[in-house]
Amino acid sequence: MLEDWVSVGYLVSAIFFIFGLKNLGHPRTAPRGNQYGMLGMAIAVVTTIIDMNFFPDGIVGWTLIGSGILIGSLIGYIMAVKVEMTGMPEMVALFNGFGGAASALVALSETWKWIETTSPEPGLGATVAIVAAGLSALVGWMTLSGSLLAMYKLKGGVEIFGKWIRTPTWGPAWLNPVKALLFVSVLALIYLSIEDPTNTDYIWAIIGISCVLGIILVLPIGGADMPVVVSLLNSLSGIAAAFTGFIINNSVLIVAGSLVGASGLILTFIMCKAMNRQLFDVLFKSFGGGEKQELTRTKVGSDADEVAMMADGAQKIIIVPGYGMAVSQCQHQVKEFADLMQDKFDTEVKYAIHPVAGRMPGHMNVLLAEANVPYEQLIEMDDINPEFPECDMAIVIGANDTCNPAARTGEGPLAGMPIIDADQARTVVIIKRSLSVGYAGVDNDLFYEDKTMMLFGDGKAMMTDLNNAIKDL
């Protein structure tokens, strides 16, 4: 019987997902990993379509199915091809939200089938389906609203009627009990709906509360913690798919969903570790916007010509990019600077990448790759740190906390966070708008050292000035 072989199709698809994820974790095999993922997905879709042919009525919804696949693929493809590399974080967040919403909508569609035809026969099967539908709705809608908010946070704001409105970060301490209360009330509603699965009041309440939960979960989380949130939401969208698998009793949804859920969670922990923070603290103890240290010292700014003179004849320069580089979009000017130095003085230029620099896991890598920086020059923190003492100049562009020596003292909010040892370089140039404190609210001693030169201003403008000054040398 061919019907019995349908599960084998799903098994093969699940195996491709496993190999896909495995291969995505290594630079050499990553492109292959992505292809395995695509293949697994194609097999799952084809298997499902074959499976539906064996239904008593066969496939009766060709119009819906065909147009759905076509429209979705087209939109997805166009969006993926058109997006600028700098807009990648927002795009990933948006797709993520769509994934969560799709799982939740499948759950809603199943529930609606019960309303429109007959409720499921009371029994174990019905209970499992109802509970799974509720959980899938909770996680799925939460992922959608959370991801949309995260997207606007990554963008920095939203334009409404020509007015730019900054995405707020707001989270008083009393919001945490509210989150817990809403979470428990959704669980209670799911419990109630076991008895009365076609009660639409319960359904709308679950959807509404879940959306609110997603928003108030992301709202208090400020800039530097965004990489953690984005990868956590990614994990949640997988969990939602797994719950949906329980409703329709489909193994490939359960396997693929929980694989993504677990691997997303691991990535989340990698991000937390890089900031030396606990996931719980990131989510429930917002520390951005808390008490910020008063600035008591001042520092005279330098200008581009002065920096260019110092850079004259440098043997080795290490560039330390941060979120400021992403904001001012100056990665091309940075690359131009590296090329100039290489051509003129045969300088060795490298880039020190802190794991949580930017607003998305791997943000700096994506931006610099877009500017055609060879990836051998992008060195991870642990590997580059020993090279700073022999480096003539470290150029910090729009980064602060990730190179704040206060982290070594073992006190304050930054205590114990691994940092880039930019302060070990012979000269340190810092391109930044002002002396203001970073996300952690801690003043940075590095700014005030004698060997540090501050270039106050926008990253793009400053890098352009610097490049011109180098050309004039």
């Binding site: 496993i18 995505l24 974790g25 630079p27 990553a30 990993g33 993922g37 697994g40 997905m41 879709v45 379509i49 539906m52 009525d57 496939i59 919804g61 119009t63 819906l64 759905g68 696949i69 429209i71 979705g72 939109i75 997805g76 493809y77 993926a80 997006v83 990933v92 797709f95 993520n96 769509f98 994934g99 919403a101 799709a102 909508l105 499948v106 309303i115 429109e116 035809t117 029994g123 174990l124 990868s231 797994a242 698998g245 329709i248 490939v252 359960i254 929980s258 993504v260 859920g261 969670l265 691991i266 990448i353 794991p355 998305m360 896991p361 791997g362 700096m364 790759a369 060879p374 990836y375």
Partner: protein
């Protein structure tokens, strides 16, 4: 559904979570974004559920709302899947292309 079947599904769920944890151990920062967006595309697997749900006779009229909901799910899931894999592919080409060019 029999209790055995439920236990089977839960076993699958738990073991897959452990497998997922083991799969991703040390990932270089360079791959954080592609890994995330690739995994994100895989989470579009709910496309399978959407396909099954959208298989309704639109004209018959008995499960119209359910079918439309599944249709929207199908569109969103396909955006997630196709967009996610395409974006990952673009990023990886950029990174891998550098490697050869440098």
């Amino acid at each position: 559904m029999t209790p055995e079947l439920l236990i089977g599904s839960i076993t699958l769920f738990v073991l897959s979570i452990f497998l997922g944890v083991e799969l991703i151990t040390k990932v270089p920062a360079m791959l954080h974004t592609p890994l995330m967006s690739g995994a994100n595309a895989i989470s579009g697997i709910s496309v399978v559920g959407a396909l099954l749900g959208a298989n309704v006779a639109y004209d018959a009229g008995d499960t119209v709302t359910s079918g439309i909901l599944a249709f929207i799910a199908l569109v969103l899931a396909m955006i997630n899947v196709v967009g996610g894999f395409a974006v990952t592919n673009r990023m990886l080409n950029m990174i891998a292309g550098k490697k050869r060019g440098a």
